[in-house]
Symmetry: C2
């Protein structure tokens, strides 16, 4: 007689430490960081937390909710860390964009996540800061919305690219070195007659730094914004 009713299955003892939404999100972030997007399954989460589905779904609406909360958690604080207000708007904008770039670079799955559900509250802070700083640059009225929107879209575009590259990296190749070599080789095989520019870009691929190129893009944008003033 395992239990009273003779019907219910044998149950594991209730967990001692409290399960909270906070703990679930932290664990999810950990799994996403170590194994990528496809590593976060609810089954794996129940194993990792030594619990069941009911406990998780009691604290979280569904998987999208969990992913959004994880992305918010990672991005929150990005704007706060660079909002000292002492430097000039141009420097501040560069620092702001770079901090978001670094955050998504450290957690590539966030990029794919924001391209699925944009305008999360955490991005509102970013958008707000960008808009304010663009205004400080002297851009007025509707042009501010266009300029800020363009910059945010550029940053998110680069982030999505990096996230995709990181996914390829995490998949097949062993390390970044061999991956870049393989990519460079593939790109080098591109017909130089039909694709002279892409072929030339391929040769520059090995001595290429994503972070630097991102900053150059920000500078191009800022130079363009200066003409709106």
């Amino acid at each position: 007689m395992a239990n009273r009713t003779g019907q219910g299955p044998a149950r594991a003892p209730r967990r001692a430490d409290g399960l909270s939404r906070e703990l679930i999100i932290r664990t999810a972030i950990d799994m996403l960081d170590s194994g990528g997007e496809k590593a976060l399954t609810l089954r794996a989460l129940t194993v990792r937390l030594r619990t069941g589905y009911g406990a998780i779904y009691h604290h979280v609406a569904d998987k999208d909710d969990l992913l959004a909360a994880a992305a918010d958690q990672v991005i929150t604080g990005v704007t706060a860390s660079t909002a000292d207000g002492s430097s000039d708007p141009r420097t501040a904008l560069r620092a702001l964009a770079l901090s978001l770039f670094d955050a998504i670079d450290a957690h590539p799955w966030v990029g794919a996540d924001f391209s699925r559900q944009p305008w999360r509250p955490a991005l509102l802070d970013f958008y707000e800061s960008v808009g304010r700083l663009v205004g400080d640059l002297g851009v007025q009225h509707e042009a501010r919305f266009d300029a800020a929107g363009a910059l945010v879209n550029y940053v998110l575009g680069v982030a999505a690219q990096n996230a995709a590259n990181a996914r390829l990296l995490a998949g097949g190749a062993a390390d970044r070195e061999t991956f870049l070599e393989n990519a460079a080789q593939q790109w080098a095989q591109i017909d130089p007659g039909r694709y002279p520019f892409v072929h030339a870009a391929a040769t520059h691929l090995s001595e290429h730094d994503d972070r630097e190129q991102f900053l150059v893009g920000v500078d191009i944008f800022l130079a363009g914004v200066a003409t709106l003033r």
Copy 2:
């Protein structure tokens, strides 16, 4: 005795019209356009084509292969349609960017797809054309790669945004009107003290044209690129 061996199941007659990779991709595009990303399942595809899994997997490696082929199909021709070469580089770049924007706007799932597997051959054409035209603008050497990469990333970023918005639109709201109203109301509820810029942006949301704002962003970039010369 339904059949000789007495083991095999009753089989439907073989289809008359030939099943080809081309037909499969066309059907997939049709399903994606009408029902969004989640509407394309292999099961639904077998029903629509009146066939089985084996036939489909004989022509297609897996679902990613199918999605990539569908995206390529949609994008192919975008560059060709604007490559007359008669106009000046600036006009040509605007037209090129706009044609990709329109293509992804008409097929929003392509945006989400490219953010998952970038550097598809179809995008090579786009990247090549952008690089060439940026060169025609007078930008030389490494700056060309940075400028072209930045512009491509901006376009893809906007595309991903639009794709995400289109997904929200296809989901809950009935039409674009009420959706924009709901969004504007939600944004209007944002604390004007904490988020003055976002709050101001919300009021401009109704009289806002994605396509126009996209073009303004392109112009900002082009103005910034002009300073590199």
